[in-house]
Symmetry: C2
Subunit: 223 residues, 2 copies
């Protein structure tokens, strides 16, 4: 499981001190499906980056099973992320010089029991775009490539920052069923930041943030 | 008004021919509030880029009042856009080396009767972030800076590609009321691409796209 203890992140810029995370405490069980909701600027992306080792806390402890993430150096964090974690970023982060299939391939190389590339591209509806480059894709198509790349290695934990923000309702449903399947069939721990409350209804628990703090943790009884 | 006549955009990549826009015909009156809906990849961003002169059609004619956009060269298009049009892009496009206030300033310089910078920052809820740089902002905060930058010059026509995609419901409402005010008080023609059907309900007309074509144009009778 994942454990956060008194996690705080402060950004200082001259006189100004911004709290992005403030004394966050949280435990997430293996295989859980968590949704994180909260207003713009409330600390969701920062919390996700800290849990996953993409960013370091100002103070506090983060552990994933036996590994203490907050004690690792850059090299250890890179190795840990590559072997265990999948990411869908808020800004897609595709490699511009690689085409769709190659971008997904990059994610696949490090998996122990990865999916086939064509299989995941089929699941996100992009099989016939596999030879295109990111600049040749619509906003939603780029977002779906980034989803395919994260899913293909069958990671232990999937971190998704607004995975359906640029997608219409239909496409969003398809993508969410891919993520749900990962969670239900492969027991991937799934953490999704979203502004879409209907995604909240699919989760085991809903974590609400406001002004850098966890203000509510709600169990979804109807699951 | 804006007029599209038989506008077509084809992308060719070796053997593959992709229609992004196919024989589009459309007229938009001055001061109209138009919403463009459609699945991911249906041609919305491409259509917007062609209407606004950011991209050129493969064939067809685009005119804005007396100006024939499709006949202009790069220099004329740049001048026309700068003097008349405001843009909110799907990917924000902020200048990374300028802070929030400076990014909005860039938009203001070219206006004939622009708003005050602090006034628009207040309207999008970012007044106390005015000295931050884009990398120091959340996804939704960056989107709101790009909104402030587009609004501040009080353009004749506003093109908005998913202006609220990264925003929570509350913040999205605030931003939409800023855009509506532009349309109602200053008679700015407002064209919004969105996946949010509730924005569709605020518009004068809804244009639906599918597979590169305009498939439906619906009047909103309750306006
Ligand atoms: N430079 C290009 N080369 C080839 N195909 C392209 C290029 N640019 C866009 N396309 C294709 O044109 C189609 C329309 O793209 P567009 O960005 O207009 O879609 P959209 O409706 O804005 O989608 P979204 O809602 O996902 O942003 C897509 O199938 C896209 O892959
Ligand atoms: N490098 C930085 N320097 C200063 N402040 C920062 C920095 N990075 C983030 N912040 C601030 O930390 C706060 C939380 O940011 P974060 O990106 O986690 O928000 P978020 O909940 O993901 O918002 P959104 O829904 O808009 O994406 C924001 O107020 C942001 O301005
Ligand atoms: Mg964020
Ligand atoms: Mg688009």
């Amino acid at each position: 499981g994942i454990k956060l203890e008194e996690v705080t992140k402060i950004y200082e810029s001259g006189e100004i001190k911004t709290y992005a995370c403030k004394n966050m405490n949280l435990e997430i069980k293996d295989g859980e499906f968590i949704v994180v909701l909260g207003p713009s600027g409330s600390g969701k992306s920062t919390m996700l980056n800290i849990i996953s080792g993409l960013d370091t806390p100002t103070s506090g402890k983060i552990s994933i099973d036996k590994d203490i993430i907050s004690d690792m150096n850059t090299k250890e964090l890179t190795k840990f992320r590559r072997n265990n974690l999948g990411f869908i970023f808020q800004q897609y982060n595709l490699l511009q010089t690689l085409n769709v299939a190659e971008n997904v391939e990059v994610g696949r190389e490090v998996g122990i029991d990865p999916f086939e590339i064509d299989e995941v591209l089929e699941q996100v509806g992009l099989l016939d775009q596999k030879h295109k480059y990111p600049y040749q894709l619509s906003g939603g198509e780029q977002q779906r490539v980034s989803i395919a790349r994260a899913v293909v290695k069958k990671p232990k934990i999937m971190f998704c920052d607004e995975p359906t923000g640029a997608l219409d309702e239909e496409t969003a449903k398809e993508v969410l069923s891919v993520l749900k399947k990962l969670n239900e069939v492969y027991k991937t721990t799934l953490i999704i930041i979203t502004h879409n409350p209907s995604i909240g209804m699919m989760a085991d628990r809903i974590i609400k943030l406001n002004s850098a703090e966890i203000v509510e943790v709600k169990e979804n009884k109807n699951r």
